[in-house]
Amino acid sequence: MQVVDSGIGELIQPPDMEAFREWNRTQKSRTLIDKRMSEREAISRFVHDGDYIGTELYGTVRCPMSLSRELIRQGKKELRVAGQGVLELDMWLAAGLVKKLDITYIGMEVYGVSNGLRRAVESGQVESVTEWSNAGITWRFKATSIGAPFIAVRSMLGSDTFKYSAAKSVECPFTGLTVCLIPALVLDVGLIHVHRADRYGNCQIEGISGFAFEMARACKRLVISAEEIIPTEEIRRYPDHTIIPFYLVDAVVHAPLGSHPGEMAYMYARDEPAIKEWMEANKTAEGAQAYMDRLVHGVADHEKYLERVGRQRLDELIEMRERRE
């Protein structure tokens, strides 16, 4: 197969599918063991400095924010990150924890650019930035999920997004079409927040699934936080709702309102003033630091964070949730 064109971006985490199979054979338990632990223990045990890490879904929607804040609290650094993010990556970037980025989108959606990204990239603090499209990066997870070293797609071609990516284009041996080859991406560690999990890590999600299915299958280590911990009998009653089976999972953290200030479909709405509070603070590095001193480092854990937000406000957000009418 002839390579037509190659992106010049760094392949930050080159895929090794044989090593991944071996990892899955030797490092992932097939036994039902209780994996419940605190945010502190999960981040401490499963996230290391220099790791390649990803979060799902993103920022304001079903995002593992309690885990993201704990990661900042523990100062995990020199992270290489799969960047599809809003608040969580804006904060990590503002905290100076990110060394390399496979970026597709880091921004504040309707509110515009991420000041964390701007400061970290424009100052050169982030050493390497490789571009992808949203489908591109998710299809990288999908390639890993199907156990293949790459996947052939028709997006990204002809653009600078391709040029500054680590993708390649080739002539398809079957059709003659020029296709874009997207390399598999194996995460050292992934963080995913779900509606329900049992103690072993069987997970169920309501509403859209984002890229949870693919990312969960593309991680060497996977930390789950869940709104509710439910009995395994409940999982067995609705096995068709299980999107992540236990053997993919290394830690299960009970994190009610764990996506705050983001939302959780059918459970609670996003906290608009709280999101704006962060964005206002993050206009400057000093403001971001002051915010984190108060709401990340200044609270011992997620429970204390929720106390700081206040029960009344949390109840309002629950009341404002999307309903199945």
Partner: protein, 253 residues
């Protein structure tokens, strides 16, 4: 004459583009408002598609994010990003709406960097789903504020492909055939693309906008057809629905 803002005008003109029984890839912001307005007034059977999995939502309340619950409010399906992007890749998505910090005469869009990629003056959010929408939907429509900083001879970075370098360039790069930009709706005018050269061409001016204004605010040579049409102003009904029902708190408008 009824007063309206440039954003309201943009939303109302864009809303008239939507068609019943078509699938449409919707991004955050103005496209959501336009789709919501279209669903209420012109195209009740419009199938709104959001990139993280919402298909066929009823856009009763404005989503603030492309993944939030309102993107699958009373929807027909809630799947995930792979399903949506693969649906686009299979040729099932008719229209996609796009935006960006810069657009060039070929409809290429930049939402990645101002300046050099290695040491950017401004680091923007990046492609997100933009590149995929521009690559895989049948037809795309860009919504833009109209000034010389945004309408530039050459974008600093081709985040999302328009016609790339001109006729045949998309196909040569391997992008699906018969795809590409069909319109740019700005705060001053509606533009299309010349079928021979793939360059941007003025189609219709918004109410009160002169030809000189449109040209003065465009940083490249805009093709002018023999007859320049005039877009109708927002109707009282469009403005009422937009203000009273869609965005009553004035979040966007």
């Amino acid at each position: 004459m009824t007063e309206y803002s440039s954003t309201e005008l943009l939303i109302c003109i864009a809303a008239r583009v939507f068609e019943n029984g078509k699938t449409c890839f919707i991004g955050t912001g103005v496209p959501m408002l336009a789709a919501s307005l279209a669903q209420r007034l012109y195209a009740p059977d419009l199938v709104a598609i959001f990139e993280f999995g919402g298909t066929g939502a009823q856009l009763e309340d404005l989503p603030m994010a492309v993944g939030e619950a309102r993107t699958f409010h009373k929807a027909l399906a809630a799947s995930g990003i792979c399903d949506i992007m693969e649906t686009a890749q299979r040729g099932f998505i008719d229209y996609g709406f796009l935006g960006g910090a810069q657009i060039d005469p070929y409809g290429n869009l930049n939402s990645t960097v101002i300046g050099d990629h290695g040491s950017p003056k401004v680091r923007l959010p990046g492609s997100g789903g933009g590149n995929d929408v521009g690559s895989l939907c049948w037809q795309t429509i860009a919504l833009m504020r109209h000034d010389k900083r945004r309408f530039v001879p050459q974008v600093d970075f081709v985040t999302t492909p328009g016609f790339l370098t001109g006729p045949g360039a998309r196909e040569a790069a391997g992008l699906p055939v018969n795809t590409g930009p069909i319109a740019v709706i700005s705060t001053l005018a509606t533009m299309g693309f010349d079928s021979d050269t793939c360059r941007m061409q003025l189609e219709a001016l918004h109410p009160g906008v002169t030809l000189e204004q449109a040209l003065d605010n465009t940083g490249f040579e805009l093709l002018i057809p023999t007859e320049v049409k005039r877009n109708a102003p927002p109707t009282a009904e469009e403005l009422r629905v937009l203000r009273d029902e869609i965005d009553p708190t004035g979040l966007y408008i």
